[in-house]
C-alpha cells in the first residue's frame, strides 16, 4: 500500500507542477495578482509531494520491501544501511526521482528567498521551473516509475553494483545533481527576463547568487566523482575523459563562463544577450548530460540498462527546451540591447575573451563526446575518441585563458592603457617565469627521483599557476597601497573580492596538482612474490601476501604491503580484492596513504596462477595529487565567499526601484 502512496504523490505533484507552470506564467503576462499569487503555494506543494514520494521510496529501501521492482533490482538485505539509502539513486528511476526532488527543493528555495523580488518575476521564474518539473515527472510516470510492483515479490534483492557501495557515492550524485538542477534557476531567470522583456543589471544581480550556488555544488560534485574514480577504480587515474565525466564537465565550463558574464552584466550592464545565451546553454547541457547518462547510449559505469523509449523522451524534451528557448531568445533578444560600451583592452574585453575560450572548450568537449554517437547514428560504424584528443584540444585553449585570468582582475573596467597594465604585471610575470623554469631542476631531489626531469609541459604548468599566484599578490598589494591601517583596509574589501581571488588561487593549486602528477608520477605494475621488495621514488615496498578476511556483504582478499624509507617503517597498506556475496562480482579496493606532497597508492591486480601466493600488484607514487581536489575545494569555497557578500542580502525595495542605470552607477563606485 505504501509504495502506491508514493506513486499517487508523484501524480499529484505532476498536476501541481503543470498548474504552476501554466497559471503563474499566464498571470505574469496578464498582470493578474490573483494568478501570480498561486505561484508560491504551488511551488511549496510540489516540493511536499515530491518529497513524500522520495520518502516512500527511501522507506521501501530501508525496510527491504522487495515487492517493489526497483528495490529488488538495486538492493539486498545484506547491504549495510547507509548504502541501502544511497541505493535510492543507484539506478535510473531513483536518480530521476532525486533529480525531481532537488528541482522542487530549488523551486521552494526560490519561493522562500525572493521576498524582495517583483511579483511577476517570481511568478515567471517559478512557472518555468514548474514546467521543467512537469516534464521530468511526466517522464518518470510514463517510462520509469520507481514504484512499479514486482509480483510475486522477490525473496531478496539483486544487490547494488559493488562499485557504487562506497561513501563517495552516498554524496557524489546528490551534489552533482544539485549543480545540474541548480542551473535551471539561472535558466528560469533568463527565460523570465526574456518573457518580461526587461533584462537589466538588477536581473543579473538576482540571478547571480543562485547561479553561483549551483556552480559551487557542481564543482564539489565533479571533484567528488573524480576522487571516487581515483580510489575506487583501482588504477590511480583521476580523470578519464569518459563521456559521462564530460557530460558534467561541459555544463561546468559553460557555468563558469556564465558566472563571470553575469558579473559583467551586473556591474556594467554589458554582455546581456551573451549572458542569457550562456544561461540557456548551461542548462541545456545539464539536460544533455542527463540524456547521455540515463539513456544508455554510452558505455560507462553510469549508464543503466537502456530502454529506447526513455532516450527518445529525454531527447524530445531536450529539443523542446532548447528549441523553445532559442526561439524566444531570437524573438526577444533584439529588445534587450547590448548594454555598456567598453574598449578593446579593458576588464570587459578580457572577461569576454575568457568567456569565449571557455565556451569553445566546452564545444570541443561536446564534439569529442558526441562524435562517436553521430558517426554511429549516420551508419559510419562504431569508433571511439580517446583521452589524447581532449588533452590535445583542451590544453592549448586553457593556456591563454589562464594568462588572461591573471590579467582580468588587474585591469580597469571600460578602458585600460596597455603600457599601464604591462607595468603592473611585468615583475610578477618575470618572477613566475623564472621560478617555473628553475624549479623543475630541484624537483628530482625533492621527490627522490633518479634524475631531475625538466620538460616544457612541466615548466608551462608551473608558469601558469605561479602567474595566477603572482597576479593575486599584485592585486592585493594594489588594494593595500597608500596610507591607513592595514586591518581596516583588509576589512574594507568585499567578500566577493576575496571569493574571486580565493577561487583563482584554487585554479593555481589545481594546476600544480595536475602538472606534478603528470610530470613526476611513478607507476609500476609488477609481479610480487610473498616477501618481494620493490624500490621506487625513495620508498621500499614489501609484499607480505594476501589473506582472506570476511566483510559485511563480501569476502575480501586483503593484501599487506609495508612501506619503508631509508630502513624506517612509513606505513602498512592493505589493498583489497573483494568478491561480493550476492552478485559474485570482484572489486579492487586500492589502499592509499595520502600526504601533502605525495600519495602512496597500492592496489592488487590478480593472483598469479601456479605460484606460491604471488600477485600482480600496482605500486604508484603520486606527487601532489591531493592538490587537484584541494584546488576544486578552494574554487567552491571561493564561490561560497562570493555569495556571502553583503550586497546580495540587501532586502530593501530601493534597489529595485532605482532600476537599471542607477544600479550600474552605484556599483561602479564599489568595484573599480
Amino acid at each position: 500500500m505504501i509504495p502506491e502512496l508514493g506513486h499517487f504523490s508523484l501524480i499529484i505533484a505532476l498536476f501541481l507542477a503543470m498548474s504552476l507552470g501554466v497559471l503563474s506564467i499566464l498571470g505574469a503576462q496578464r498582470n493578474s495578482r490573483t494568478l501570480m499569487g498561486v505561484a508560491r503555494p504551488l511551488a511549496y506543494g510540489m516540493f511536499v509531494f515530491v518529497a513524500l514520494a522520495f520518502g516512500v521510496l527511501a522507506h521501501a529501501f530501508l525496510s527491504n520491501d522487495f515487492s517493489v521492482l526497483y528495490v529488488a533490482q538495486h538492493s539486498n538485505s545484506q547491504l549495510p544501511g547507509q548504502y541501502r539509502f544511497a541505493a535510492i539513486w543507484g539506478g535510473h528511476e531513483g536518480s530521476l526521482l532525486l533529480w525531481a526532488l532537488l528541482l522542487s527543493v530549488w523551486a521552494a528555495s526560490v519561493a522562500t528567498f525572493s521576498r524582495h523580488l517583483p511579483e511577476e518575476m517570481v511568478a515567471r521564474v517559478l512557472g518555468v521551473m514548474g514546467l521543467i518539473e512537469a516534464g521530468f515527472l511526466l517522464f518518470m510516470l510514463l517510462t520509469s516509475n520507481p514504484f512499479t510492483r514486482l509480483l510475486p515479490a522477490a525473496a531478496d534483492g539483486a544487490d547494488l553494483n559493488p562499485l557504487l557501495q562506497d561513501p563517495g557515492l552516498v554524496i557524489h550524485p546528490p551534489m552533482l545533481y544539485m549543480g545540474y538542477v541548480g542551473f535551471s534557476v539561472a535558466y528560469a531567470f533568463a527565460i523570465s527576463a526574456l518573457l518580461g522583456g526587461k533584462l537589466d543589471a538588477t536581473w543579473a544581480r538576482w540571478s547571480r547568487p543562485w547561479t553561483t550556488v549551483a556552480w559551487v555544488f557542481m564543482t564539489i560534485g565533479i571533484a567528488l566523482g573524480s576522487g571516487w574514480a581515483y580510489y575506487e577504480l583501482g588504477w590511480g587515474g583521476w580523470w578519464f575523459w569518459d563521456p559521462v565525466e564530460n557530460a558534467s564537465f561541459m555544463p561546468w565550463l559553460l557555468g563558469t563562463a556564465l558566472i563571470h558574464s553575469l558579473a559583467v552584466t551586473e556591474k556594467r550592464g554589458a554582455f546581456k544577450s551573451w549572458t542569457v545565451l550562456l544561461a540557456i546553454g548551461a542548462f541545456s547541457l545539464s539536460l544533455l548530460g542527463t540524456f547521455l547518462v540515463r539513456s544508455g547510449v554510452l558505455t560507462s559505469v553510469h549508464s543503466f540498462a537502456s530502454d529506447p523509449k526513455r532516450g527518445i523522451f529525454i531527447l524530445g524534451f531536450l529539443v523542446l527546451v532548447v528549441g523553445a528557448s532559442l526561439l524566444l531568445f531570437a524573438w526577444r533578444a533584439p529588445k534587450v540591447g547590448l548594454g555598456g560600451k567598453f574598449d578593446m583592452l579593458s576588464r570587459e574585453s578580457l572577461l569576454l575573451s575568457n568567456n569565449v575560450l571557455l565556451s569553445v572548450a566546452s564545444a570541443s568537449v561536446f564534439v569529442g563526446t558526441l562524435y562517436p554517437l553521430f558517426m554511429d547514428a549516420l551508419g559510419y560504424g562504431k569508433l571511439s575518441v580517446g583521452a589524447p584528443y581532449f588533452q590535445a584540444v583542451f590544453v592549448p585553449l586553457m593556456v591563454p585563458m589562464v594568462f588572461m585570468m591573471g590579467l582580468g582582475p588587474l585591469a580597469r573596467w571600460k578602458k585600460m592603457a596597455a603600457p599601464d597594465l604591462v607595468s603592473r604585471v611585468k615583475w610578477g610575470f618575470a618572477g613566475a617565469l623564472a621560478v617555473a623554469l628553475l624549479l623543475p631542476l630541484a624537483m628530482g631531489k625533492f621527490l627522490s627521483l633518479e634524475s631531475n626531469k625538466w620538460s616544457p609541459l612541466i615548466a608551462l604548468g608551473l608558469l601558469m599557476s605561479f602567474w595566477i599566484i603572482a597576479s593575486v599578490v599584485i592585486s592585493f598589494r594594489q588594494r593595500m597601497a597608500g596610507e591607513g591601517d592595514l586591518a581596516q583596509k583588509l576589512r574594507r574589501q568585499s567578500l566577493s573580492y576575496y571569493g574571486m581571488q580565493f577561487a583563482h588561487l584554487g585554479i593555481a593549486v589545481f594546476i600544480i596538482g595536475v602538472t606534478m602528477v603528470k610530470g613526476y608520477e611513478t607507476e609500476r605494475d609488477v609481479r610480487m612474490n610473498v616477501g618481494d621488495t620493490l624500490a621506487a621514488g625513495g620508498y621500499e615496498f614489501r609484499f607480505n601476501g594476501v589473506s582472506q578476511v570476511p566483510g559485511p556483504n563480501y569476502v575480501s582478499g586483503m593484501g599487506s604491503v609495508t612501506v619503508s624509507r631509508n630502513g624506517r617503517l612509513v606505513t602498512e597498506l592493505h589493498p583489497e580484492k573483494r568478491v561480493y556475496n550476492v552478485s559474485g562480482m570482484p572489486l579492487t579496493e586500492a589502499s592509499i596513504q595520502p600526504g601533502l606532497f605525495r600519495d602512496l597508492y597500492v592496489s592488487l591486480g590478480e593472483p598469479i596462477p601456479e605460484s606460491d601466493g604471488a600477485w600482480a600488484v600496482r605500486i604508484y607514487i603520486k606527487p601532489f595529487v591531493d592538490w587537484i581536489w584541494a584546488g576544486c575545494l578552494m574554487m567552491a569555497l571561493g564561490g561560497v565567499l562570493a555569495i556571502s557578500d553583503r550586497r546580495y542580502r540587501i532586502h530593501n525595495k530601493a534597489v529595485i526601484r532605482a532600476g537599471n542605470d542607477a544600479a550600474v552607477g552605484n556599483l561602479q563606485g564599489q568595484t573599480s
Binding site: T299, M344, V360, V367, G368, A392, V393, R527, M585
Partner: protein, 143 residues
C-alpha cells in the same frame, strides 16, 4: 579607432579564434579516433595495419595463458565465427573473464597477433560492452 574599424577588428579576431579552435579539433580528431572492428572484419583484412583500432567480442574459453612474468597475458577474442589472438602486458580489469564480453584496443603486428594497449571489460555482471554485443550480432547475421 572608429567604431566601424573596431567592430571589424573584433570580427577578425573572433574568426581567427574560431578558426584556430576548429583546426585544433580536426587535427586532434584525425589522430585520436580509433575505429572499431569485429574479429570477422579483421579476418577479412578490413582493419588497418599500422594504426591502433578497437576490437570487440568474447574471450574464448580456455584461451587465456600467462607468461612467466605474471603480467603478460595471451588470449583470443572471438565473435563465434572468427577469432583473433591478443597479447597484453599489464593488469586486466576486474571483470575480465573467459566466455565474457571484452573490448581491446591495440595494433596488429607482423606476427598476426594484436598487441593491446588497453583492455576494457564490462562494468557489471549484466552488462555487455555494446561493441562486443554488436560483434556477436553481426557474426550471427552472416550465417
Amino acid at each position: 579607432m572608429k567604431p566601424r574599424q573596431k567592430r571589424l577588428v573584433y570580427i577578425v579576431v573572433a574568426l581567427a579564434a574560431v578558426g584556430v579552435a576548429v583546426a585544433l579539433v580536426l587535427n586532434a580528431l584525425k589522430d585520436n579516433v580509433s575505429l572499431y572492428f569485429t574479429p570477422t572484419q579483421v579476418y577479412n583484412r578490413e582493419a588497418p595495419i599500422d594504426r591502433s583500432f578497437r576490437i570487440g567480442g568474447l574471450v574464448e574459453a580456455g584461451s587465456m595463458k600467462r607468461e612467466g612474468d605474471g603480467l603478460t597475458v595471451h588470449f583470443v577474442i572471438t565473435d563465434l565465427k572468427k577469432s583473433l589472438p591478443v597479447v597484453y602486458k599489464g593488469i586486466l580489469p576486474d571483470l575480465f573473464k573467459e566466455g565474457k564480453g571484452v573490448v581491446a584496443q591495440g595494433k596488429m603486428e607482423a606476427d598476426g597477433v594484436m598487441h593491446a594497449s588497453e583492455v576494457l571489460a564490462k562494468h557489471d555482471e549484466n552488462y555487455m560492452p555494446p561493441e562486443a554485443a554488436d560483434a556477436l550480432k553481426k557474426a550471427k547475421s552472416v550465417q
